[in-house]
Every structure is written in C-alpha cells, then in structure tokens.
Symmetry: C2
Subunit: 66 residues, 2 copies
Amino acid sequence: MNRSSATDRNRDPINERDAAAYIATITRELAALAEGAGMEVLKYLLEMARDEAQAIALEEKKRRPS
Amino acid sequence: MNRSSATDRNRDPINERDAAAYIATITRELAALAEGAGMEVLKYLLEMARDEAQAIALEEKKRRPS
C-alpha cells in the first residue's frame, strides 16, 4: 500500500488516480478474457489487481472532491 | 471475450495460449505503469498475474512443440 514514497514530494495525485483508473479498466477486461479462456487462477489474480487499482482511484477521488 | 464456457469441450489450446501471452504482455506494461506511479502493491499484484499468464503460455507451448 506504499502508494507514495516518502522521498517523492512532487508526485501528481491526478496522474496516480488516472493511472489507477486506467489499470482498473484494463485489468477488468483482461479478467473477462481469462475467464472466457477458462484460466480461473489468472482471472482471480487480475481481479485482485483490479480491486486494488479501483481502491486507489476511489481513495484519490475522496481526497479531491469534484 | 467469452470464447469458451466451462462446459465447452472444444476449447482451442491455441486460443488459451495466445490469450495468456497477451495478458502477460499487457500486465507487464501495467506493472511498469504502477511502479512509475509509486503503487507498489498494485505493481506486485500485476506481476503475480503476469507470472501466472506467462506460465500458462509456456506450459501450453510445451504441450504443443512447434
């Protein structure tokens, strides 16, 4: 959960949020692909990544309402 | 993306291998993106998915040499 390092003071939260949202979108599609091909473990791993990415995207949103 | 259901006995291993290789490629890129944004946990989860996808791709190759 080390989403921001202690030494990086110039990180743009918008970029992180956008990156997380993008990753969530792509991993959701990849999970569907994995499921369609019967790769259940891979689907599960991708869903875990999607959940983490989604959590980051939403958390960043909460920090910056509208 | 639902190329074969759990009950589909005609699943094409080539499709599974290709899907796994594709997922491995994309998750590798997403992991780099996550790393660049300082999302270490997400990077780790994506690397786990990449490793699983890569293993499937290689395993399928072993089953079907050349």
